[in-house]
Every structure is written in structure tokens, then in C-alpha cells.
Symmetry: C2
Subunit: 388 residues, 2 copies
Amino acid sequence: MTAFSESADPHRQHERCVTIDLGSRSYPVILSDAWDSGQPQNLLQQHVKDRPVAIVSNDTVWPLYGETLLQAVKKAGPSHCSWHVLPDGENHKTPAQWLAILDHLANNGLTRDGVLLALGGGVVCDMTGFAAASWMRGIPFIQVPTTLLAQVDASVGGKTGINHLAGKNLIGAFHQPVAVLVNTRVLTTLPEREFRSGLAEAVKYGLIQSAPFVDWMLRNRRNLLHREPGVLNQLVQQCCQFKAHIVREDETEQGRRAVLNLGHTFGHAIENLGHYRTLLHGEAVAIGMVMAATLSEHLGLARPGLGKKVAGIMQALGLPSDFSSLPAGIDIEADEYTPEALIQRMRLDKKVSHGRHRLILLKELGQADMVDGVTEADLRTVLQAFCA
Amino acid sequence: MTAFSESADPHRQHERCVTIDLGSRSYPVILSDAWDSGQPQNLLQQHVKDRPVAIVSNDTVWPLYGETLLQAVKKAGPSHCSWHVLPDGENHKTPAQWLAILDHLANNGLTRDGVLLALGGGVVCDMTGFAAASWMRGIPFIQVPTTLLAQVDASVGGKTGINHLAGKNLIGAFHQPVAVLVNTRVLTTLPEREFRSGLAEAVKYGLIQSAPFVDWMLRNRRNLLHREPGVLNQLVQQCCQFKAHIVREDETEQGRRAVLNLGHTFGHAIENLGHYRTLLHGEAVAIGMVMAATLSEHLGLARPGLGKKVAGIMQALGLPSDFSSLPAGIDIEADEYTPEALIQRMRLDKKVSHGRHRLILLKELGQADMVDGVTEADLRTVLQAFCA
């Protein structure tokens, strides 16, 4: 378990590096404000020089940061550089859009000595990663995450994938990037809901393994919500360290890594019910974590009150804790969000084994555990309190 | 290098096993005449009992052997068993058909504790393997190859994939099966061209690393072409041993494994030109191996005469050696098979590095080498002799 320590001075150094230690597949996560100098530029030169490069982004991020990244990549001396811009949004995380990336690679002659770059949020990072995993049985790729969610979670750890109609990330592969370039300055342009969605994945690390980190987030929530650069850097670095530790122990989720799925089995079902257009991933996971805490209580795994406590944490961070506290302007068809509909979607979760539900639950703040054989009757009881 | 020895008595035992030794990913290739008894049934019980199973096959093989395999699988006690039948043919090795397999898995509730079985030739084995590799980031699968080509090559070694419009197997992953069940009796129903196509992949092992094995095949060519069971079993077992050795040394083709691509860079281009409907894979590879031998000669790597020698071997095994010796009834548009058209398709080969062609060439019978930086001028000169 990685300890959380507040003592790190966020301004001590300009660049910071977290190493994801996976033997021959190890790679650095570099936190830096620039791509065209220092370690990020060194890394680009190392992986890009004299090779064909393709950048994948989306039509929101590319107009903002495409040119800057492109110049940094060109400075590193690739033999050829092209870009492919996806439509923005989780509802475009589809086989069709993944194939469009592969078409781009074919049309630009990208062979095994080529490199892919992902510039965007979790959707772009996951899809580009799966394109890199499956093109010519695997080519290298670099993550350049531009949302808080992607910086604290999606870009690190090698889970890649796309959605199937039946569920989220059902198609995918484990394929580690060769580097992750994190620039928290790009978070200034992130829409408010997207930013808070990222806080949900950040506080998740605290809920599963560090109550002090939850406290730190709550105490600093004003600075966090104002996106104060020093605090943001500290947040992202700490989350990457949490994740680095868990991924090193269990790269392909044979065991402990599964705790990172806290709130995700519920969250994926919620997202699927909204066709990936209604709630953002982090918002769905925030509600999912409250559901998981409430279920933990219901099963006697945690003391009474944990569900309320976790709901309070979400509220403090400006996140929804149930279907009645959704962000302004978000309408859901309440009669579609039934316990039955949610459970039906949970049945295809990747952790379901022999038809029994396997869920990540909480013993208390900072202690998660995988629990096998949760019955649908228990799920139903708990979900009823969340649904209209 | 695996030595070839003729001394093994093909009738000595009913079942034989070749182990593919890859540490925690090791698995057995079982040669046996039955699926519902002995080691094959033991293996099925080990992997299938109390789990959901989906069998993937094609509409030629399923009517012949589907029921037999289904009974053997049911005897092993799965929790649920379904099947998905693809249209037969290399031109159906597409993203759309792969997605149809995934739809089937979603509709039948196959989670990570499920198992896929591939019953068919190289196309079914490769596509099922890629479905298993990419569904929920990887589930186990068992190969049950029913063509000679799949038994001696495609089913062993973990290369999975589908075709992209731009070229063969451009989309895929390395994903090892948990077992391979080889039954050479099913080869009796194989069409003549398909059978000979398999002989091309078999003789390839001899060309790259064992001249005595080429001799053995030539001396036994009558029995081989008559599909005499004892000789067939010996052939398949020996080929699996050759492949096991190479794959153990280099699972993900960082080096030596590339020699298995002898004739394949040319062959894939030939197949692509015919839209995967004209020549069979083994036929294209047979011509490709003659091209590679001729190029080796042209570059001074091999002594004069090697091209003719390899052409003679192909002819003796009933295989084409150029575009004028194609099987009866196969018409190609000769003016489409130009050196330029072939070279253009070779540029997207997975082994192309920094825009230079990397090819497997022969020093002599039984000795292959990877050669970097072959120029397109050299390719053009050699290909001119093969094209109209």
C-alpha cells in the first residue's frame, strides 16, 4: 500500500516523474507544463525520432491543444506525422470509430516501427490504446491525457478498450503505453462537469486505500474546485503513485487491481442505461461508490452510516450522490432507471463469475475488498432506495 | 533447432502430445482421433466444466463435425453451450464477422469465466483467437483445427487476427490458446486444394530449418497426397514440434520467429491482389516461397539454382510455383498481378521497418535468414520473371 504524505512541496521542482514499474514494460509518467522541452521532449525524441507518428484526438481537444502538441512532436523529428480527429463523447467509443483509427493508420503507412499518440480524455486514451494494441498485433503508444479523469486514471495502467452495445469496455486489451505526458495546465479549459467527474476517480483512491487522502481532498476542496495549479499537481501525482503501486502488484487484474473498480459495476450500468450520453463516467461512478458503500452497510460488512458518509464526500466535491442530485440541466427518464434494469446490465460485468456478482465493497473509509456471490436480492434492496 | 528424426513409429501410440512451453502460458497440443474420450475429453473437462462455452465454426465445417464436437463438449459438463457459424472463406475474415462473434458472446452472457472453442481452418482459428483476445480484455480459448494448414500452423503459437482492407492479419493480438485438439481424421473430408495448401505450410518448416524433412516429405509424397493416416500424423506432429521450438524461443516475434514468415510477405500481397478469393493462403505462400528463393539467388545469398529447386519441390507436392501453374479452373487477371501492384501491397507488411523491406530469405535448403533493407529495385527485377 502506498502511503499518502502531505509533506511534498508542490512547487519544489518543475517536473516530476512517477515510474510505472512493470519490468520490461516499465514506463514513466511525466508531470510537466511543457511538451517541447525538458523530459517530455526527451521522451518524444526517444520514441518518435525517424519514425512515422499518428496523433489521435477529438474535435473538442484538437482545436485547443493540437497545434502545440504537433509542434512538439515535429521538433522531435518523426519521419512522418499525421493526425486523426474523433467526434467527442463516450457515445463515440465504438467499434466503428476504432476501425476509423485503423483506416487512418493504414492510409498513412504506419507499420510496427510507428508510434501512436493519444491527445484527449479517457475515451481517446482508451480507444487509441486499443488501436495500438490491435494494429499489427501491437505497436507502441504515448498517452497525453487532457482531462483530470484521464490524468489520474485512464492514461495509466494499460487498460485499453471500446464499448460494445451490451456494455462498457467489453472489447479491449491490456497494452501498456511507452510513456504518459501529463500537463495539468490543460485542465484550465476543462468544462466544470468534466473536471468534477475527474475528482470522483481521484477520491476513489482514498476510499479504497487511504482515508487521510480523502481528508486532504476535503480540506483542500476549495483550492481543488478552483483548480489551483499547485494542489492539482499534488493531486495528480499522488493518484498516479496510488495507481502505479496497484498496477505493479497486479498488471492484468487477477486479484488486487480489481479494487480500482469500486463503484464501476454500478457506474457502468448507469452509463449504459443513459446510452453514454446522459451522465459522465465520473458522475456515474460517484453514484456507484455511494451504492457500493450502502450495499457494504446492508451486508453488514461496514458499520451503519458509511453510505451517508460517502454520499457527503461526493456532495462536498460537487458530485452527484444519487439520481436526485444530478448536475443542473441533466434530465433522466426516472422510470427507466429501475433496479431491474440496472441489475440486468450488471450481469455482463467482466467480474461476474459463474453467474454470481463480484463487487468491490468498503469495510470502512480507506479499506476496500472484493466480495463474491452478492445476490440479486441484496442488490435489489439497496438499489430500490436510489431509484424513483 | 529441432532435429527431424524419421525413427518415430507413427502407430506406436494412440494419442500424442506436443507441449508448447511458454511458462505460465504453456499448453498442450493433443493429437488424437477422438474428442469425447482420453486426453481431449480430460482437457475439455478441465477447461469447460461448469463454465459457459461458445463454439465458433464455419458453414462448411459445422455440418460435418459440429454435432460430434458439441456432444464431446456437453459430456464435459459446461454450464451453458452455444455456437456461432461464420460464412466460410478468407474473404469473411473481416471486422464485421469478428464483431458478430462478439455479439454472440454478449447475447449468450459469456463473461471472463467463459471459454471459446474454434472448430475450423486457419480463418476460424485466427478470428476466434482474436475474439478471445479482445473480449473483456482476454478470455481462454481452445483450438480444434480441421484443416491441414490450421493443424500444422495457424492453431499453434498464439497469433490471432483478422484482415484489414489494406492487408492480411493487420488487426490482431498475441493470445495463446489453453489447448489445441488435433484430429487428423477430419482431414479426409478436406477438398484437394485445401489439403495441398496445408502441405505448403508444412514444407515451409523444412525449407527454413530442416532439409531432411523436405526430403522426407518428397519421398513420402504419394502417401501424403493419398492422406495415409500414419504419415499424416507423423507430418502434423513433426510440424507442431518445429513450431513449438520456434515459438518457445520467441513468442512475440521479436527475432527468430520471423523466419516462419518465409514466403508470406509475397504471399500476403498475392492474396490481397485477389481479394482473398482467388488463391488459397498456402497456394499464395507456395509461390511466395519460390519468389523468396529466387530473390535469395538474385542477391547472391544463395547459390544459383535455388529458385528452381524450390519450384520443383512445390510442383512435386502438387502446389503452384508461379502464376502459370495455378490449379485448374483458377483464373487470375494477369494484368493486375504486376510487380508494382505486389510491391505496393508489400509496403504495409508488418516487418517493414523505416520504409525498408525486411524479408525472410534462404541461404540454402534448411537455412533461412532475415534480411533487412531489400530494395524495391531488387524486388522488381525478381517479380518481373513471375508476372506476365
